[in-house]
């Protein structure tokens, strides 16, 4: 029974809350739709937190999404053991730098008075949930390899069965508890997402990546303006 709760009911609750609450928050509290920056308050420690955390997490997240949307491509790539090892070792390294980044973020938030002041309870919950997610993910990668292959064969069919509203939990119920923890915590994170700073993921100014560069011109003499004071 509790398997049905965790793998056939929790996912729908999480997805439902995610959908309804992200839209509701965007419509009613539009200006809270961001991640409050604290870079101006402290920036020595900030680099070694934010940069490895974001690059690591994005890479690992895209590997998971590839397993969901193009499982056949992943399996074809993994058909040669060397290529499989490259995927897994890169994924593990990215997860490790995510954890290093997260560790630095948490230490900075705890250690610096100004940063701690602007850190809310929901921020701490987010750090705890992401901490559990990253650590359990690393444990799965190390002790229950090779997830890049078995995600595509066991978890992808289960996830699609959820989207088709015919959950087939047989794919997941017999997996090791560490894998189940990783899955369940992921749904908890998705359900909690709309109430946290994580909403900034949905409003990343992606066009910055491809828009044309903007040239800033001064139509006054900068040296004159500066020398006034």
């Amino acid at each position: 029974m509790h398997d049905e709760l965790l793998f056939a009911i929790l996912p729908y609750v999480a997805m439902g809350v995610f959908l309804i609450m992200t839209i509701q928050r965007y419509r009613q509290r539009t200006f809270t739709y961001s991640s409050l920056s604290s870079q101006f308050l402290e920036n020595r420690h900030h680099f070694w937190g934010s940069v490895p955390f974001h690059y690591g997490l994005l890479f690992v997240l895209f590997l998971h999404l590839a397993g969901l949307f193009i499982p056949d491509v992943i399996l074809a790539w993994n058909a040669a053991p060397l290529r499989l090892f490259i995927t897994e070792a890169t994924g593990l390294a990215m997860a490790v730098i995510t954890l290093i980044g997260l560790g630095n973020i948490v230490l900075r938030r705890m250690g610096d008075t100004k940063s701690r002041t602007v850190t809310s309870v929901s921020d701490w919950i987010v750090y705890a949930l992401i901490g559990v997610q990253v650590i359990s993910g690393i444990a799965v990668a190390v002790f229950h390899g090779w997830g890049s292959s078995w995600f595509a064969t066991s978890l992808t069919p289960w996830l699609w069965s959820l989207f088709k509203l015919q959950p087939e939990i047989g794919y997941v119920t017999a997996l090791p508890w560490m894998v189940k923890l990783h899955i369940v915590n992921a749904w908890v994170l998705i359900g909690f997402f709309p109430f946290t700073r994580l909403v900034h993921v949905l409003v990343v100014p992606n066009p910055y990546l491809w828009r044309r560069t903007q040239v800033v011109l001064w139509n006054y003499d900068r040296h004159k303006v500066r020398s006034k004071d």
Binding site: M1, E4, A8, I9, F40, N43, R44, H46, F47, W48, V51, P52, Y55, L75, N78, A79, A80, P81, L82, L84, F85, E88, A89, T90, L92, A93, M94, A95, V96, I97, I100, A141, V142, F143, H144, G145, W146, G147, S149, W150, A152, T153, S154, P157, Q166, P167, E168, I169, G170, Y171, T173, A174, L175, P176, V179, T213, Q214
Partner: protein, 308 residues
Amino acid sequence: MLVEHSERGEAMGKTTGRWTLALAAGLLLGGTAAAQGASDEAYEYFARNCVSCHTIGGGPLAGPDLAGLLDRRDRDWLSAFLLDPAGVIDSGDVYAQALLRDARGVYMPTPPGITADLADKLLTVIAVEDGLDKSRFAGLQLSDRPLTPVDIALGRQLFNGTTAFASGSPACFACHTVEGAAGFGGGRLGLDLTTVYARMEGRKALGAWLGAPPSPVMAPLFQDAPLDADEILALTAYLKHTSESGVEQASSGVLAFLLTGLGLAAVLLVLFDVAWKDRYRSTRRTLVEGRRSPRLASRAVEGMEGTP
């Protein structure tokens, strides 16, 4: 609950259709298996859940040959055993204890989703099949020919995934390792298969197991995409070969894998340090300090001009 309902609903829909057909056939021919109460559903259940350990007239595998089963024990006893094998064994039943000894102490798992009704239908399937000259459940017809180095090589390729299974089933390497596997070794979701050939006591039982893997993780992947007999023979050859390597389990690649991951992570951090040398992490501080040191100030301004 959602699952059970939807699956049952679907199964019931199918069964109704099949029953209509079966009934028509039964009326025409008289005395077919269906008319005697052995439904298609029970046949399908037997094929999916029982044949990896049992034959009907093909000799014992992990479990006993079921030929003559209903002569050996009465229906009530068999039905009770099917509903709860471990319970009957642990109750101290003498016959069940003997079965446990024959199976080298391995308990028969409770058949998934078993009900009294299904148990009764399964016993009918066994009785009907036992009455035939040759049951369709006489066991996988795996060749008895000697296994060659060519078989072993093909088995290794199938295990590793470098040669794909015809049915598109996932390669063993994703979840299992064996002694002699390349690099960091095979996956560790499932068991180390180095000695599985010896544990299953040979080609026939291992082959039957591979023909319809009953483990809860593998069953959903293989029940609609089974391996063919040639693939099973090659895998059996490879696993016999690893079993004879003299080691109990594969040397673990876990530490090497972990160290590689940590090493790569360190390299990435160094790359980050180089790539963002003059950006992000020190803009404001260098500007402030630059009020005192002209060298730092000029560096900060150069850095600023590089940023969009």
